[in-house]
Symmetry: C2
Subunit: 342 residues, 2 copies
């Protein structure tokens, strides 16, 4: 199996990308294609005392770099020889099985959709991060790719998220919930009401384990395995959870540092606190998959370090092995709403 890695995208590129990918090659027994400026990639290796490319690792040259400031919609016009576009093209050409990038999210969405291509019949690709919960993990989709959604997009997100939770998170019969401002069927805007009806129909037909509306308050508690929402709302959900975890993490740190007593207390709790920190550490979770693309495209966090990149490659490997994309493309006929479904 060959994983294509955008060596130039991300706050810590190319070092974290290169070293993380090489570590993954060794740890998870995958081949790696590093896409980017060869000289800078080789320089990263040299700094670590590595003179030649490790076995199973190759470089594909790309001269340009897409930055966080680049306009996502212009990337195919202005960034044709960027590591991101070249990487996606390699994926489309079958020169690798999955593509990992920590670069500009919007640009990666454009490139994934137009170069690696959306699955036929899937209306929109969805950014699908995994979030830790009290009982395990859940997939949130869409978490930012589509500000405006139709009920049918949300129905498709339900299916795609369900396949992903089953394959990648190894959850049997994943519980799919519709993010809403109350549990009752009548809650929400028109979008939620209409999506509820479609998801319920799919649930009644035995296609999905739809458990109804879920409130944001219950997501961290593990109310469901797949949270379905439009991209704007998903962004708010994910970022609020992230921001609150950071805020409380800081407060706990302050608490432990506040006096001699609490400092002694910390020494007794150190292992527990480490476990707790792990819970909130995004590098443990890996990246967010773009579901709805023909092959796995993983968006690693912009601030990914070596470990996070390594985990993103591992995630790509699992997605290839378990056939997430094939499962989705094989079930598109069941994901239709309205006239098309009849």
């Amino acid at each position: 199996m060959k994983i294509i890695v955008d060596a130039m995208g991300g706050d810590n590129a190319p070092k974290a990308q290169v070293l993380g990918a090489i570590a993954a090659a060794k740890a998870f027994d995958v081949e790696i294609v590093l896409v980017g400026q060869s000289d800078r990639i080789l320089e990263c290796l040299k700094e670590e005392g590595i003179d030649t490319l490790p076995q199973g690792v190759e470089i594909a040259f790309a001269s340009q770099i897409i930055t966080m400031c680049d306009n996502p919609t212009a990337v195919l016009r202005t960034g044709k020889d960027s590591s991101m576009v070249v990487g996606a093209q390699l994926l489309a050409d079958g020169k690798g099985d999955a593509f990992v990038s920590a670069g500009n999210t919007g640009a990666l969405l454009t490139v994934a959709t137009l170069v690696a291509k959306r699955i036929k019949g899937i209306k929109r690709a969805a950014l699908s991060p995994v979030c830790p919960t009290a009982t395990g993990k859940c997939v949130i989709l869409d978490a930012g790719a589509n500000n405006e959604c139709t009920p049918e997009y949300l129905l498709q997100f339900g299916y795609m998220g369900s396949f992903y939770a089953e394959k990648y998170l190894d959850i049997k019969n994943p519980r799919v919930g519709l993010l809403n401002n109350g549990a009752e069927e009548t809650k929400g805007r028109d979008l939620q009401k209409e999506a509820f009806a479609l998801l319920k129909k799919a649930g009644d037909a035995g296609d999905l384990n739809f458990i109804g509306n879920v409130e944001a308050r219950d997501v961290p508690g593990g109310a469901c395995d797949v949270v379905v929402c439009d991209g704007f709302t998903g962004n708010i959900l994910l970022k609020s959870i992230e921001g609150t975890a950071i805020f409380l993490g800081k407060k706990i740190k302050e608490m432990f540092k506040s006096s001699l007593r609490t400092k002694i207390g910390y020494l007794f709790c150190k292992n527990g606190v480490t476990e707790f920190k792990k819970l909130m550490d995004s590098s443990e979770v890996g990246g967010a998959m773009f579901l709805g693309i023909t092959r796995p495209v993983i968006k690693a966090h912009g601030s990914s370090d070596e470990k996070a990149m390594m985990n993103a490659v591992r995630q790509a490997k699992i997605c290839v092995e378990t056939g997430v994309c094939t499962a989705i493309s094989g079930s598109v006929d069941r994901m239709k709403a309205g006239k098309e479904a009849e």
Copy 2:
């Protein structure tokens, strides 16, 4: 000053409502009107060994109770003699200065808008809870009263939230932020883009301290004092923060209980943990005000205990004293958008 309290609304009614209000009367030197079923109110007092109504406390009889299951839009037709409607009517008639209820939020919005009346020129009342942040507190509005909003509603929320933060939270020149999925001006849906333009104009005119878009991730960190959003998005923001705090609170508890070492550690940190818990305790924050109503109407949390009710009465007192509603109604002319503004 006289605060009207819905004695029958809330999970712990009437006991928490009655005892909380009476404690507030004494602690904050306010008069109280308890609205509800007199016999049950008096029974609560008797259970506490109080035989007569304390000085400054009176009862206004109302036979009906609005429950959490009642349809909010039908409440004026079917619940005319409910504690909620009678209480709001007393407020409208000038028999009290503010109204506090822990009952059905949707019903209270209807009653506040139609009985206590919206301020002339204000398009929609907004549910405006206060949320703890790393640097203090912030107001979130709207947090659930209006699923669908226009840019002009959001402009008005900005103004109302700013007055509220200034008066109730005692923040000078409050920083008003628009909740969005990115910091750039071009981010968001049409609603956010258009609201941004209106808020920026008000900021440029020196009417508001508009600091631009804020991301959900930065709200708990204290990025602004007033978070402006539509009610659906505000509900998601508030509930995610709440849910994450509950989840992490539980995890910390588990951590401290996990071994003898951590149990000993806890003994050293006890005071710090208590402070930390306080941060996440909704009864410390008080209730959510409905901004845009002619007089203060405070929605206390449904699960309010005696202490939370007492704090909600204190909050009502501050809002009356500082003249939040007068400040808003006196500035409605500045809050207009589009044609009306010209």
